[in-house]
Amino acid sequence: MSAVIEMKGIGKSFPGVRANDNINLTVNEGEIHVLLGENGAGKTTLMNILYGLYTPDEGEIYVKGKKVRISNPNVAISLGIGMVHQHFMLVPPFTVAENIVLGLEPKKGLSLDMEKAIADVEELSKKYELKVDPGAKIQDISVGMQQRVEILKTLYRGAEILILDEPTAVLTPQEIEELGVILKSLVSQGKSIILITHKLKEVMSMSDRVTIIRRGKVIDTLKTSETTMEELAEKMVGRKVSLNVEKAEAKVGNPVLQVKGLRALDHRGIEAVKGIDLEVRSGEILGIAGVDGNGQNELVQAITGLNKVESGEVILNGKNITNLTPKEITDSGVGYIPEDRHKRGLVLNFSLYENSILGSQRNKKFKKGMGLDYRKIREYSRRLIKEFDVRTPNERVNARSLSGGNQQKLIIARELDREPSLLIASQPTRGLDVGAIEFVHQRLIEQRDKGKAVLLVSLELDEIMDLSDRIAVMYDGKIVGIVNARETNEFELGIMMAGGKSEEKH
């Protein structure tokens, strides 16, 4: 096997960070090579260098044995390197064929030769078994299909080496499986693939070799068949981590949250929650699974008072809290870890101590005369910082200066310290590294074991399956089914996430 890509001694610095440090990477022809690492480890930076989006500070790149200088993406494309970004770059009202030929349109005289474009796309699609319809509009096809269009775009431009950045983040389990098949078929026809991911499962199922990057440095390159998930996790994080969430049997009590026939609109005024009934009882975690954009956020915001309830009821501990103000709902005992910590959860330009009382700023215990008792507030925040192990020089720095994991710890500390009877955690581990994820999971289970009701919304199916006692699957604003977490599997949930019914079993 010969090497198609060799990167030698690559280094790249950004202000204050050494993103890549003396990185060596070899990708062989016809293999699927995974770059594994936590968020911010430097994987994407390295690939952006290979694709010509960044110039390295030092190091050399060889493509098929020839030394090259990739100064911009056009050079990369001409060398046969194609990249599928995490966020697709497609024109929604255009057809699949139009998107694929965009910028390289076949011409007949002065006009676009649409027939040839469609024929080309069909041929490519057949060759690699991608099964896309060239005439369909992007806005009408599923995310999984859109991803295939992105892959086709690179193939149309003659890519021999494909880079895929976190390709599974937006897919259902079934679509992930199909992607695996597609990648294998691409490889069997001589393509080479570099896959960026932080998900261990996919490394094991999809790759031939894996290179682990931590803090900008290559830790190791291994054959997938000769390693285990545990070993990979340890190398990725730099210490032993437990991959399994351990939890005791749930001691389920009375219903804490009851949602009846709830309907709500999204920000465009279109109905996003279409009549939802659910119940969360004390001592259990109810997980809401679903592909992004199926009404999960709108549901949570309707419960927490951030979004208006059009019809239906929200009942907390027997008390109707429908359409109360966010403050009243917080005061009735709802804690909420929002899905977007920068937009919702924190005022980034506020200090940590100011953030630590967001939502309880009117609480009597922080009052002194006419003003706020900032001395007490700072003491309070120091306690939270200590108890929840927020890594920060002091409580006076701005929330902006903390890492994502520490920001999330501060939010969790603040919400849990109010002792809510219902905790809503919306994508609580998004963008966090393995260590912080472990911490968040432990805290959620702790709350459950204390007899609190926990409503967990997550796009990560593994997280839902590991933590939940019961799982409700949302599709198109409705709950497709509620299943017992012990009695279900990824396959069944995947069908429901795509809108299919499961046999009802509660």
Partner: protein
Amino acid sequence: MESRMDEIKSTLRNTIKEILYPLTAIIVSFIVGGILVYAFGNNPFAAYKALFLGALGDLNKLGETLVTTTTLILTGLSVAFAYRCGLFNIGAEGQYIMGSVAAVWVGWAFQGLPSILHVTITLLAGALAGGIWAGIVGWLKAKVGSHEVINSIMMNYIAMNLSNYLIMTALNEPGKAFSYEVAPTAKLWRFAESFEQFKYSRLHIGIIIAIIIAFIAYYLLNKTITGYEIRAVGFNPSASEYGGINVKRNIVLAMVISGLFSGLAGGIQTAGVQYRVNNLFGLTGYGFDGISVALVANNNPIGVLLSAFLFGVLQKGGPMMQIEGIPKEVVGIIQGIILLFVASNFVRITVQRYKENKEIKSYMKKEEVK
């Protein structure tokens, strides 16, 4: 445990930090202005000497400078306060005018009151009128989402024409193009009444009021729940909503408070300096200067005190440069350069770049040693 002393120290340190960047920008502006003066064929040292002597040369001159400073402190506070809630109050001008008119009416219409009471209600009327004028803009923003900049600009012209109408009708001094004079009981105490040294200046108690207001504004913003919520809304409305803060209510509130300051500026100018309101041919400019003052002060109420003084010096000292044969437009140029430098934040950016470069270099060195 942190002691009270440490706390004060850290507050002080932060304030100095906040002031340091604009201060450097100001010094650089004066140097650049000096080079310009030199390029025009004049002696920069003579020019600056004339400028500072003209503004600060003796107590009377200082007094006049402080008269201007008083107004600028209040309009500056007005703009700064609104800005901390994420609102750009261009309407300080109109609020100032409404404050003047309300004050002149109360100062004239209520005769025979004890002075302390009359002065108080005169100033309160001014503040209130400004507060209402700004409140309308805030209410429109909260209610229908119309932008405060557009509305407050329009409200400026409504205020000017409404003021002119009232001055030429209900409040008109017959046969004149200005209003009645306020009653002697509504006039603010002047330093000249007790201190011979200030004989030729109109310096009045308003400067003390303005300074107190600045400290109140600082306390309100940084130490109270209201201030906490207003700043939270200014930085991040979504997170504020999540934190149970009524965003719309705070927008209206911040505008009203901002308007109170501008209205008070108008009231103080009327009760302390002019005693009447003139028929205006154009806007007074005090409100707009307030924007510059707030900008240079980085919207910090205490910083406003200093930057208002700086602008007071420039405005009062400028004409004196003319006597030295230097066009007074130079002052306008220096003001412009100061704003440009402060607004572009170039000092901060330069310092940061320098620090970052140093950091990278030292990191690379460390790595090499390894």
